[in-house]
Every structure is written in C-alpha cells, then in structure tokens.
C-alpha cells in the first residue's frame, strides 16, 4: 500500500504563467484528487469600479486581463451605452468586432504555444508565438498598443480605418492563414501529439452543463453555445460563420475546436472588412447615467463574458458584476484531476486555458 503524498503546484511554478495554487493528492503515480486556492491575483476590481466614474472605470476594466482586454472594455462600454439609451453608429460595432476577432486569434495562438510547450513540443511553441507577432503587429498599427488597446470609449471607439489599413490587415492575415492550416494538420494527425492529448481531461456533456462551462471547452464537449450567434447583435447578425463543436470533450478536441475557430475568425475579419459601413465612429455620451440595470453578454476568447451593471443616477456605477469564462472551467478541474496519471496533470491544467487574472479579478 503506497503512502499518499500531497504535491503542490504553484503559486510559482514553471508551468503556470499566473499564480494559482493546486494541491494534488498522489498515490504512486496516480493523482487521486485535487484542491485549489484562488485569490493571488484578486485586486478587488468590482469594489474599485464603484469608487470611480463610468469614464474612469473603462481603463480599470481593460486591465482585468491582458489577453482579452478589448472584449472586457467592449462589454462594459456596450452595457453603459445601453443604460444611457445610446444608439452607437453601425461602423463602431464593426470596428469593435474586428478587434474582438483579432484578439480571439491571438489568444488561441498564445494558448496553442503554451500547450505545445507543456507537452514537450518546444518548437511549436516558438513557431506559434512567432506567428502570433503578425496579429500583434496588426493590432499595434490599428491602436498603438500590442496588448492593451484602449480603443473603447462610452459612446463609440477612438480609432478609424482607412483603405490602406484595411489592405494591410488583409495582407498580413493572408500570411498567417497557411500557418494555421499547418498547425491544424499537426494537431489532427501527428501520433505523438494525439497520444498526449487524446483521452486526457475528459469532460462529458452532462458535466459541462452541470458546471455551466462556456466557450471552446463546452463546445468541445458537445454543448452548442456561442454568444455571437445566440445574442443577435450587429455585426454578427449580418455575418456568416460556423460554431465549431466536437464530441470527445478531451484536450485534443479542445485544441481542434480552437484552431478551427481561429480560421473562422479569419473568415469573419474578411467579411467585416468587406462590409464595413461608412459613418461616424462615436456619439456623445452623458456623464450621469439614469437609474437602471443592464445585463451584457459577449463572447470572449474563452467563452461567455457576463456583465451586470446597476446605476443609481450618479456618475459612478452602483454595482458592476463581472463573470469571466475561466471561472466555471476552473470548477471542473477537481473532476478532471481525479484518478489520472501525474504526468498528465500539466496537460490537463493547460487544456483548461487558465486565465487566472480574469477569474480572480
């Protein structure tokens, strides 16, 4: 009878980019169960937002997470505009969606590199992060920042696109497209990759629904949800795209779903650029918001991003509630880390696409 050991992973660990603490109970080479401790990155953003004005809060909301900062500020700005009863120009919706899709591509490529590093494919890590630089270059040309864009204001956006910029975006994305095809081929067919990711970290459809999982993890388990299709709002109600699902529910299925989503995002960007309507990019917004409540849902790279804002008539929000998509994914980890090999634990942790800064807020 082997003794049970408790092995900590984190808060500082080579495989984690952010601090979170896992405690794995191990017997021999099998992980029996696990527990986790969040809160290392908790900055109290919901309380801080209540002490700022609506305009100041945009900068705070953007810094919840560095990887998906634009979709956070888009969801927030959209919610406040709805409370104000503002109708932003159609061009604004298209520009916001353009950056959302670019962010989705960059986030998935980032994750792919990190997964490859954790399964021992260092070369693929180098290649995907090198290809990701193409997307960061586009975002830098558009907004001035590689990671933090700050293009959203209450009432619209601050940047506009001219023909030269749109041609540059199309050209650079054409450079990226064949590399995505190679990555998909690699992860679909290469036997060593499949050995390390197939059958690992399986979440069945029932477990995914009971834990309210969202995003690529839910879609890889067969749950067909995607806020871009379910909440019809411009420009997605005029664009054609597929919602990619898979049935296996393991890390391999999630990888395939994410790579194919990157290709769908490329298609979406091409449609956005060809359909971009003329017009203004913003409208004037009042500082004081009349009393009311609003719920705003957007599709972040990791899934459904949820904002609830309550206003009490002043220029400061009375309550902002943010639920990021990583939180339900984290709640499935005890299930995934039950009775698995210790050597598969890093792959399971990578497969969940942890964004602890988002989860802790």
């Amino acid at each position: 009878m082997m003794t049970k050991l408790k092995i900590p992973i984190g808060p500082h660990h080579p495989l984690l980019k952010e601090p979170i603490s896992f405690l794995l109970t191990v017997e021999g080479e099998r992980v029996l169960e696990s527990s986790m401790r969040l809160g290392y990155v908790h900055r109290g953003i919901e309380r801080l937002c209540q002490e700022r004005t609506y305009v100041q809060a945009v900068h705070l909301i953007e810094r919840i997470c560095g990887i998906c900062s634009h979709v956070h500020s888009t969801a927030y700005s959209h919610a406040v505009e709805t409370l104000l009863g503002l109708e932003v120009p159609l061009r604004t919706h298209y520009i916001r969606a353009l950056l959302c899709e670019l962010e989705r591509i960059h986030s998935h490529l980032l994750w792919l590199g990190v997964l490859a590093k954790n399964i021992g494919l260092d070369t693929v890590f180098m290649y995907t992060w090198r290809d990701r630089e193409i997307v960061l270059d586009i975002m830098e040309e558009l907004s001035g920042g590689r990671v933090s864009h700050t293009i959203n204001i209450i009432g619209g956006v601050k940047i506009d696109l001219d023909q030269k910029m749109m041609d540059m975006i199309s050209e650079k994305l054409e450079e990226l497209a064949p590399k995505l095809t190679i990555a998909l081929g690699l992860f679909e067919n290469e036997p060593t990759v499949r050995l390390r990711t197939q059958g690992i970290g399986v979440i069945t459809k029932e477990v995914a629904r009971r834990h309210c999982v969202v995003g690529p993890i839910a879609r890889a388990s067969g749950v067909d949800i995607d806020v871009r299709r379910d909440v019809p709002r411009p420009p997605y109600n005029n664009l054609e795209f597929n919602v990619i699902t898979h049935t296996d529910g393991d890390v391999w299925a999630r990888t395939l779903v994410r790579i194919m989503e990157t290709r769908e995002s490329h298609r979406l960007i091409q449609q956005i650029l060809s359909q971009l309507p003329p017009g203004d990019i913003s409208v004037k917004a009042k500082r004081r918001v009349s009393p009311g409540e609003v719920v705003s849902r957007f599709e972040a790279p990791r899934g459904e991003l949820f904002y609830y804002i309550r206003s009490d008539g002043s220029d400061q929000p009375a309550r902002i509630k943010i639920r990021t998509p990583t939180l339900p994914a984290l709640s499935t980890l005890p299930e995934q880390l039950r009775d698995v090999n210790l050597a598969d634990a890093p792959v399971i942790l990578s497969g969940v696409d942890l964004c602890i800064a988002c989860a802790d807020r």
Partner: protein, 147 residues
C-alpha cells in the same frame, strides 16, 4: 420569454401574485421571488427547459437590503431576484441542482456575508488568508487586511 410560462412556474411554486416582473434591456426578463422559493423555482426551470444555463449569481447591497440575482440564459435572459435582510442573510444553496454554482455562492458569501445553507465547501474563494473581517461589497466601511 413567454410571460405565461413564467407565471405558470410561479404558480407551481405557490407564489402569490401580483408578480413583480420587468423587462430589462437586451432581452432580459427580471422577476422577484421570495428567497425561500428560489430552490424550487430553479428546479422547475431545469425540468421545463432543456437549454438552461446559469451565467452567474450576483450579490449586491442596495442600501436598504441585500439582493441576490440568479442570471439564467434560456434562449433569452432571465434574472431571478431574491431579497434578504441585512442581519444574518440566509438562503438555501442551489449546488445540489447545479454544482457549478458553488464558486458564485462562495464569492457572494465572502463579499457580502450571505450564508448559504447546504453549501459543502464554505472556504474563502478570493479574499486572502490574512483578511481579518468585514465584507468588501457591503456599503458600510470596509475593513482592511491585517498588515
């Protein structure tokens, strides 16, 4: 959201009218329910609708009472509002029906001091081990961590 469907469920859980139902922007329906009927309401939603999804549970201090909002997505948005008193706010946990609600309830508990009965793991989720006392999202003066 079909108002009739909603009113049917409210009658099934023995709620007495008039019902406080409002429409919020972006296709959201809001309904106030007595806090002791929330568990049954959620049970009926899950039985009646196969596409249910719980987005999150929001706790807030409105100045006069504590409100717990359960945000559902059923093809359209549905928010259930349960109102609790300031002194010893208590409500039954829905983790027996939806295990994924545990994180949301733990967060509401530590941020507002709400006590969820039947919640198995009541440990602190986001606040630090050095947090002394006080609830950060209550309107009253917040306590700082122990330096």
């Amino acid at each position: 959201m079909e108002l009739n469907w909603l009113q049917d469920i409210l009658t099934k859980i023995e709620c007495v009218g008039p019902f406080d139902i409002r429409r919020l922007p972006e296709d959201e329906t809001w309904v106030v329910i007595p806090f002791d009927k929330v568990f049954d309401f959620v049970k009926f939603i899950m039985e009646d609708d196969s596409t249910w999804h719980l987005s999150t549970i929001t706790g807030q201090d409105t100045g006069s009472q504590i409100e717990l909002l359960y945000h559902f997505w059923l093809g359209h948005g549905l928010t259930i509002c349960a109102r609790l008193a300031y002194e010893n706010p208590q409500i039954k946990s829905i983790t027996a029906l939806i295990p994924g609600a545990a994180f949301y309830e733990r967060e509401a508990a530590e941020m507002l001091g709400i006590s969820f009965t039947d919640l198995k793991d009541e440990s602190v989720l986001l606040l630090s081990d050095a947090w002394v006392k006080g609830w950060p999202l209550r309107k009253e003066k917040k306590e700082k961590h122990d330096d």
